[in-house]
């Protein structure tokens, strides 16, 4: 098993390395929104002193850490896999004795992640000098605690996206569904603004959804904004949602493959 993963890694790393120019463009594309939100909110906080208790530095540190967390927990499976189902090239992978999603696609995503993070590091330091955030509230314990939380969040997010990607077995409009899913993340994860500034209704719904685990929870962990109780609660949620998404993905995938082979694609 280890050898398989090693080989898969070599292949997928080489593949992603080929596309490094595209990757830089992707990184740029992805960077713009958080920076704009940062600029918008800090400009408001500057005028008013604080926004519901959030100072300029609170916003700056929030989005600076968000850049890292979002990059670690997000994935691109919809773009690298859905077309394989649609054009039938999945068939070749299905007859191999390894799971197409949970090995090859997963390793491919991790390779992609490694490369984008390599690209992000210098950009992040440039932004650091441009915005000069004060990270004094960050503790080592918070950072260490955030790592397993982000790994769990990555897997949860990956499984959910993989389940949505698998809807391609049924519909050609899987990209539209994914766009809707993307909007949900934007609304409930804390990507736009720290969740406590969102309308109360949205905050209430957020409690019952996994999306805040992708961004808001790890960011707050790193920034040392959570009480021990909140941390425990977050971890429990992380495990519960990981379990749910694993079951959900398996169910969708199994039925999808059944359908795929029935149609004879």
């Amino acid at each position: 098993m280890f050898l398989i993963i090693k080989r898969l890694w070599q292949v997928n790393w080489a593949e992603q390395w080929q596309y490094r120019a595209n990757l830089i463009m992707y990184l740029l594309y992805w960077l713009v929104s958080p920076i704009i939100y940062l600029a918008v909110w800090t400009s408001i906080a500057k005028v008013k002193g604080d926004v519901n208790g959030f100072t300029v530095n609170d916003f700056t540190t929030y989005y600076m850490v968000l850049l890292i967390c979002d990059q670690i927990t997000s994935n691109i499976i919809i773009h690298t896999f859905a077309y394989k189902i649609q054009d039938g090239s999945l068939s070749g992978e299905l007859i191999r004795p390894i799971h197409p999603m949970l090995t090859n696609a997963l390793v491919n995503n991790v390779a992609f992640k490694m490369l984008t993070i390599m690209g992000l590091v210098p950009v992040w330091f440039i932004l650091f000098f441009l915005f000069k955030p004060d990270f004094s509230s960050v503790t080592l314990a918070g950072v260490l605690l955030s790592i397993p939380a982000m790994v769990l969040a990555f897997f949860t997010g990956f499984l959910l996206s993989a389940a949505i990607t698998s809807l391609a077995f049924w519909t050609t409009r899987v990209y539209s569904i994914h766009e809707f899913y993307f909007a949900l993340i934007l609304l409930f994860s804390g990507q736009f603004v720290p969740l406590t500034l969102m309308p109360q209704v949205i905050q209430n719904i957020t409690q019952y959804l996994p999306f805040q685990l992708l961004i808001y929870y790890p960011v707050q962990l790193i920034l040392g904004k959570l009480s021990a109780e909140q941390i425990t609660q977050g971890y429990v949620m992380s495990f519960v949602w990981f379990g749910i998404s694993l079951l959900f993905f398996n169910w969708v995938w199994r039925n999808g493959v059944k359908r795929y082979s029935a149609v004879g694609a």
């Binding site: 120019a21 713009v32 600029a39 736009f192």
Partner: protein, 261 residues
């Protein structure tokens, strides 16, 4: 006259294509409405926490959203699909046919794909602008509205010229199919007034990838913040950039046909 005829021919072909994918069109319109909802929600969240953003009120930001959507519609309805077609035609060689048609090739490359359903977005954008202007309740004069329209056109022309330059580069660097990503990436910066951005970002979106020139600046004209000298300057810049772009395009075509080698 003939240009109009050609445009309507392109339009018809693209309506045909849209009809071939009817259900997708409906889904796309729904998604578009969803994003409009999100844009309005995010504005309301911002203005729940403040009265002004960079000195602009909510009405003005709604109007800005309208202008942004106008520019964005041009991007989505024309620029992106035609870029895709252009890159494809360079790859598979059908660019040869484009050059051999007895019509200005820049025109062909700009209008051969039109995402037809996006037209309704123009109406939506106009509504947003009208509502926004009314909400801001300012003393908008007819002159301000005229300069606003003028500068929206010149700003759009500047972005269009930049696009022509970016895709023309493909004639020199054939593997350059990321040619418009930079434009795409910075598009979102047009949603908010450039005045709230830190200086370096403002410089980028005003001078390098001039999204703000087509969004923030026309709106400033609507608020009557621009002097007539500035307005003339933007008109001059847009004419100049269009001229430069068409020169570069022609040079690109010469490169493609090997005149320089």
């Amino acid at each position: 006259m003939h240009t109009l005829k050609l445009l309507s021919a392109f339009f018809k072909v693209n309506v045909q294509m849209a009809l071939a994918y009817r259900a997708d069109t409906v889904v796309n319109i729904l998604l578009n409405l969803m994003w409009l909802g999100w844009e309005l929600l995010s504005l309301s969240i911002i203005f729940n926490n403040t009265e002004t953003l960079g000195g602009w009120g909510i009405g003005e930001l709604i109007a800005l959203l309208g202008v942004f959507r106008l520019v964005n519609t041009m991007m989505i309805a024309l620029i992106w699909p035609n870029t895709e077609k252009f890159n494809q035609s360079i790859r598979d060689g059908s660019m040869d046919y484009t050059i051999l048609q007895p019509v200005n090739s820049m025109f062909l490359v700009t209008f051969s794909r039109i995402t037809v359903w996006r037209i309704w977005d123009l109406i939506l954008a106009t509504v947003l602008i009208v509502v926004g202007v009314n909400m801001s309740g300012g003393t908008t004069t007819a002159l301000h509205i005229l300069t606003f329209i003028l500068l929206a056109i010149t700003g759009t022309l500047i972005i269009y010229s930049l696009w022509i330059v970016l895709i023309a580069l493909t004639f020199w660097f054939t593997k350059f199919d990321n040619n418009v990503t930079i434009l795409q990436a910075l598009m979102d910066a047009g949603r908010y007034p450039a005045t709230v951005y830190p200086v370096w970002l403002r410089v980028i979106v005003t001078f390098i990838i001039p999204i703000a020139v087509a969004t923030t600046i026309p709106l400033q004209a609507l608020r009557g913040e621009l002097a007539s000298g500035q307005i003339l300057m933007f008109v001059a810049i847009s004419v100049a950039s269009f001229w430069v772009a068409s020169k570069i395009w022609k040079a690109g075509l010469r490169q493609y046909s090997g005149a320089s080698s």
